[in-house]
Amino acid sequence: MNQIDKPIANPIVVLREEFDDWAVLFNADNAAAVGTNPVGVAVWKLMDGKKDIEGIVSEIKNRFEDTPDAVGEEIAAFVGILAENGFVGLEQDSK
């Protein structure tokens, strides 16, 4: 299994949701901060270490109207950036 298939949100990261539905993800351990839109917030909340990227994309398509064709690639890229910066852990397959 590709390790990033089941991303899990780093519990140390703070999600600051603002009035306009945008949000800031803040990693208190390294002071890194990332701004994200409502779709990113939804992706963040879905990263529970149980869903793979396909599952997350499917859920996003259900929740948001008019998702672009490339939404899968965009979410995978977003998760990849978060993983590189310590915002997301990678659930290891024990088998």
Partner: protein, 360 residues
Amino acid sequence: MRTPRSLTIEITSRCNLRCRYCYFFNNPEVVYRDLPTGEWLTFFDELGSLGVMTVTLAGGEPFIREDLPVLLEGIVRNRMRFAFLSNGTLIDDEIAAFIAGTGRCEHVQVSVDGSSAQAHDSCRGKGSFEKVLRGIHTLQRHRIGVTVRVTIHQHNVHDLENIAHFLLDELGLPDFSTNSAGYMGTCCVNADEVLLNVEERKEAMATLLRLTEQYPGRISSSAGPLTDGRMWRRMEEARAQDKPAFHNGGRLTGCGCPSNKISVRADGAIVPCNMLAHMELGRINHDSLSEVWQNSPDLNQLRTRHHISLAEFEFCAGCSYIPYCTGNCPGLAYTLTGQVDHPSPDACMRRFLEEGGAIL
């Protein structure tokens, strides 16, 4: 912003020094009382639930609190980072090691007011220079970020070049910031012996502007002679070119702090800023911080201060700099005029020029 991103918290009203220009002490509108550990820990839990990112611990002198490690654990547990505003004289290996071990310290800002004990101790007390240097070396040894603030007053205004050399070349600090003694708290009592006069202010501006060219990007300020020198130069240029100097100039736009952060006094009173310590908005663990942040009438009025035109003030009558002016700090405006919604006379360029000042 739904909640503040950062707070400044005066975790104690105690201090081991009695600096002659201290803004904190001798404020008749402030209650000097410390809260027990548990009160702060409860409040830190609330901050964690609100997504606050950083708390700056101030005082008084924050390192005087015996329970500091417990307080820091409360901050770390709630996924926040922290910084200190300190006189630097009480920092030992034990607390420095603890701070370094958390991995959450942004920096410790300490005050250094001179390149020698004579200049530094003149306003901060005998022996404090030696102690603050020991504190800085201790922080450096533990790889904790140290920032230095130089407060300029009558007794160190002629020492600025030496201070820059000492801090940047000898101590090897990456940078330092400056301000000047302001008419607040204890400084009001000692104003004649501490505050810069026009000539000294002119000298400080000239020296600092020259030093910023000598040390590019390593000397900063958000108030005081360097800021005044830069702002007034920009205002003069804008007036000459008939162009705006600042966004929404000509109104009370000099302070954006209430939109980003908030402060708490040592006795638990929530205030907009340490410079507006009289303006009680609520009390921690009694009033919801998010409720105060979003709905306090006083705080929201402060946030709309930028709608007030400088042309409305008799103080500004006939001033040709109005379109280029911001009115500057509401805290100093309050201590000097008794009104928060008033331009600060301390930052008035016209007055400075009328009293013999010059734009460099």
